[in-house]
Structures are given as C-alpha cells and as structure tokens.
Symmetry: C2
Subunit: 347 residues, 2 copies
C-alpha cells in the first residue's frame, strides 16, 4: 500500500498547485456575461421540420435570448435572467414546458421546474403543478421565500398563492397539437407510458423520432454569479405522478459559482441515476477538468455508455459555453461573452 500513499501525496500537491494557478489565472472579469438556452433535445432530423417550422422555433429561441441579454447587460442577476428567459420558452406553445406541455395518460398536464443560484447554492423546485402559468417563477419564489425547497402539486400551488401569485385555469396550458399527440401515442403504444416526447407531427412514434421538449437556461452575470434553471411538462402519456430529473437539483439542474451551471434535457430516468448535472460539476471541482472535458465525459461517455438519451447546456465562470447531446439535435441558443447571438437545431 505504500506506493499508493505516495501517489496520493503527489496527487494532492499537484491538485493544490493547479488550484492555485487556476485561482490566479481564471478569476471572473467583472462586466463579462453570457447565457445559453435549450428547448429540448431529440432526434430532430426525423421530425422533418419545414423551413417555416424551423424559423418559428428559432424566433422563440431568439426572443428568449434577447430577454436574457437585456437583463444581464443592464447588470441584472443571472438568477433573474434565467427566470425571465425560461418564462419566454414556457409561454411559447412550441416547447414542452408551461403552455403547450405534453399530456399525462389521464389527459391532465403536470409540470416540473427548478432553479438554482450559484452564488448562494439556494434552490427552489416544484413538481406536478397544474395551475401555475410559469413553473420557473414558482421555483424562484420558493427559492427566495420558502423554508422548504421542493414542493409538490397542490401544495406548491397553495404556497405561491399565499405569496401573491395568481393561478391560471388548467385549460390555459392545453394545445390541440398535444391532445392529438396523446391520442396517437395511446393508439400506437396501446396505452403504455412513452418515455419521451415522441415528436408532434403525426409521424410514427419510435425511438428514432423521439424529442424531449424540456426547456432550460444557464447564465453568468456581470458580478460573476452563475445560475441555472429547467422547466418541463415531462413525458407524454406519463402515469403515476411521475417526477423526472428537471426539478431534481444535481440531476437536471445545478449551479455553483466558480464551477459551472448546467441544465439538462432528455430521458429523465437516465439523468437521475447518473446525477448528471452534479457529475459534471464534480469532474470540474474534484477532477480539475475543463467545462468542455467534464461535459463530454459525463454525456458522451457516462450517459451514452448506459444508452442514456439527451443532452445539456453548461456555462463556466469565464462564460465558456458548451452544448452536448447524444441525440441528433437540440433546440439551442447562446449569447457569448462578446455579445454574439447564436441559435441552432441540428448537430
């Protein structure tokens, strides 16, 4: 065992020196800011989106980015930017979050969301909510006003109402497209719960045209603070009050100043067992990897090796942005530290 101790001693010393070097080289520059967003991953090439459909998706992604850019440019917090950006995506019927969420097996809609402040590690999360227009705002309200951090269903609704938030009728969230999607999935799957969004366009549902419509945002503000948020309607035809990874801190959502902010999209069960968001953060914190290497190892090696499907967006303390997914596409966008806007759908 002696040689082992020797290795550990050297390892520890090197880690310490590396850490010191990092602190010196990479402290966040005041004034630098950036953000990234996703509107879900999937084998989007199989959706055969028309040029108009692609334009519509990218227009919403662009609006969301602009909202976040304005917040950050004027000195607003990354936490506020994440909330405001996700609200835009929740309000759009195109994405599986807020309005336009997928339907459960019983025809209802149950939404999950989480938000995390990388500066304080404060978190807020909701699951199974049915009448909250913007689940991400409920999560943020819980983060700032509740002693608990994770509230479910009618309990979460009671809390936000007590805090002055108004509920909406459940009919607000429903779209005709999602009703047809549920009918089609039930017919095809014989009533089985499908483990993905399954696309919206009336085509045959199988693993090759799955789409996970979760939305998320990660941001670095001018004060060097990171934040992350994720919001979703979950899986189409889901049963038994299933909770996915999105509202679970460490699985679908994580942010820590000096390390990274991460928001995931994909088959939630895979992300829960691999604790994906915090696995990425840990590889940076304890394994001293770069953001890009950490994300790549978690998504392309760990997640993919166990047939996990989906991806994530991530940002580090210097505003470096990484998109990574095991599917053929991810609705995504970013504003980098130079103020350059970018949106994309395919790989």
């Amino acid at each position: 065992m002696k040689p082992n101790y020797f290795f550990f001693l050297i390892l520890f010393t090197m880690s310490f020196l590396t850490g010191m070097a990092q602190v010196k080289d990479n402290k966040p520059s005041l004034g630098k800011f950036a953000l990234a967003i996703h509107g879900g991953s999937g084998n989007i090439d199989k959706m055969k989106l028309s040029v108009e459909e692609q334009k519509a998706y990218r227009a919403v992604l662009d609006s969301a980015l602009k909202v976040g850019y304005e917040v950050l440019k004027t000195g607003g917090s990354s936490l506020l930017a994440v909330e405001k950006v996700i609200m835009v995506l929740e309000d759009s019927p195109l994405f599986n979050a807020g309005k336009g969420s997928v339907l459960c097996n019983d025809g209802t809609i149950e939404m999950d969301a989480a938000i995390m402040n990388g500066k304080t590690l404060d978190v807020g999360a909701v699951a199974g909510v049915r009448r909250i227009k913007n689940p991400i705002s409920a999560a943020k309200l819980i983060l700032s006003k509740s002693k608990s951090v994770f509230l479910y269903g009618s309990g979460a609704e009671d809390f936000v109402v007590q805090q002055g938030m108004e509920l909406v009728d459940t009919s607000y969230f429903f779209t005709e497209q999602r009703r047809r999607q549920l009918e089609r999935v039930k017919l095809e799957e014989g009533g089985m719960q499908l483990d993905h969004d399954s696309g919206d366009y009336g085509k045959k549902t199988n693993e090759t045209d799955e789409k996970f419509g979760t939305v998320g945002c990660v941001a670095l503000d001018q004060a060097g603070n990171l934040a992350a948020g994720t919001s979703t309607g979950g899986l189409v035809n889901k049963k038994y009050h299933r909770i996915g990874d999105s509202p679970l801190i460490g699985a679908g959502t994580y942010a820590e100043n000096g390390v990274c902010a991460v928001s995931c999209t994909g088959k939630g069960e895979d992300f829960i067992k691999h604790v994906v968001a915090y696995d990425i953060a840990s590889r940076i914190k304890y394994g001293h990897l770069s953001l890009q290497a950490a994300v790549s190892q978690t998504i392309q090696l760990k997640l993919k090796s166990s047939k996990g499907r989906g991806g994530c967006i991530a940002i580090d303390k210097n505003g470096n942005i990484v998109f990574n997914f095991t599917t053929s596409g991810m609705f995504r966008g970013s504003v980098d530290v130079n103020g350059k806007f970018h949106t994309a759908i395919y790989r």
Copy 2:
C-alpha cells in the same frame, strides 16, 4: 497558460496510475460483507433519554442489524438487505419512518423513500405516500418494475397496487406521541413549519433539541455489490407537500459499486443544495479520497460551514464503514466485515 497544461498532464497521469494501483490492490474480496444503519441524527443529548428508552432504541437497531446480517450472510444481495433492514425500522414506532412518522401541519402523514442498486445504478423512489406500509418496499418495486423511477403520492400508490402490493389504512401510521408532538409544535411555533423532528418528549422545542428521525441503511454483499436506502416521514408540521432529500438520488441516497453507498439524515434542504450523497461519491471517484476523508470533507467542512445539520452513514467497496454527523448524536449501528455488531446513540 502553458504551466497549467503541464500540471493537468501530470495530474492526469498520476490519476491514471493511482487508479491502476487501486484496481490492483482493492478489488472486493468475495465473501466479505458488512452493513450500517441509522435511525436519524440530532442533538440527542438534550432528549435526556432514560436508560429504558435508550435500551428500546438500541433493541430495534439490533433487530434491524440481525435481519440484514442474515440476508448478507446467506449470500443475499445488498439491495435486499437494505430493504429488509429498513422495513424493521419503518415498522418500529420509535423512528420517523413508516409507522410512527411525524405529522404534517394538516394532521396527515406523508412519507418519502428511495433505494439504489450500486451494481446497476438502478433507482426507485417515492414521495408523499400515505397508505404504503413500507415505503422502502414501494421504492424497491419501482426500481425493479417501473419505467419511471420517482413517483409521487396517490400515483405511487396506484402503481404498487397494480403490482400486487396491498395498501394499509392511514390510521396504521399514527401514534399518540406524534399527535401530541404536532400539537405542542403548533402551540410553540405559532403554526410555523418546523424544520426538524423536534424531539418527542414534551420538552421545549428549539434548535438545541432537534432530532431528525429519518432511517437508512447501506450495505456491501458477498458479491461486492453496494446498495443504499433511506426512508422518512419528513419534518414535523411540514406544509405544502414538501419533499426532502431522502427520496432524491444524489442528495439523501446514493450507491455505486467500487465507490460507496451513502444514506443521509438531517435538515433535508441543506442536503439537497449540497447534493451531499453524490458529493461524497464524487470526492472518492474524481478526487481520489478515501471514504473517511470524503465523508469528513463533505459533512464537517462543506455541510457544516453552511450551518447544515445532520449526518450520514457510508460504506465502501472494502466494507469500511463511516458514521459522521454535525449534531450531538445519531441513532446508529453496524456489522463490520468481521461480523462484529455495534450500536450507538451519542457521539
């Protein structure tokens, strides 16, 4: 930046060599097995337990250990041992899980549990269940039979019934002691949600006599497989369908072969934001720490520095067992690799 790359290169090489050395030195010996349990942490000295009360607690801990020991000794899996052990603790009215769970603000009981198989990383979890006699068994059923891994409330109950499990009447879980506890807490706190168990003995409730009664078990079986499970009634006087850390994989519960198995107890919100169970695993996996060092850094440095309260039990691939808590005591016990039984309450 050049020196930094150099450091990383050396670091990577050393990590690789250390990893190789570990694989050679520390592969699990077939036949070795061990387990550890907890019945919650807290400032137990302030509960002024009588000798009889201490005996009663230790007797249940002993029975639970014996059940686990028998499973493991006869070649049973760590997953089965964890389930069977936790069932004993759930069935005892002394602990805050299953029968004898604490009451919510509205007088109901809502229980959470999770279990994880370190061999496959398969997980199962429930939250907010009210009629499942052994929530840990529901979690295990979800692990083995459900496509989803985390089910809430009546949905979880519907699933287990469909799988042939019988429900019990909600009255089964109630004890007179817990009714009195809720009344007292409501009077003292003016109806505020208390963030801990608060002790059961009619004494003044404050931070110095808090007790978190969650139960948990970690085990290594003869095949070298690790497993972890946690079950709880949550916080006394809890509101809004609060979910704590116990059912959240990575926060209150985690197991991974070759790394460790962890079960936590304490103020759940602290454990969620610090992703405690997976933070310990990550320090071992990516930071190459020993189990003892990893647990100590997570609990005594990270958790304690942010005033987090509680503790954990953990076991590694060699059957090394660690107990660690920031409170004055933790109901706990273990059977080590030499078959030696041990129970304790105070520090």
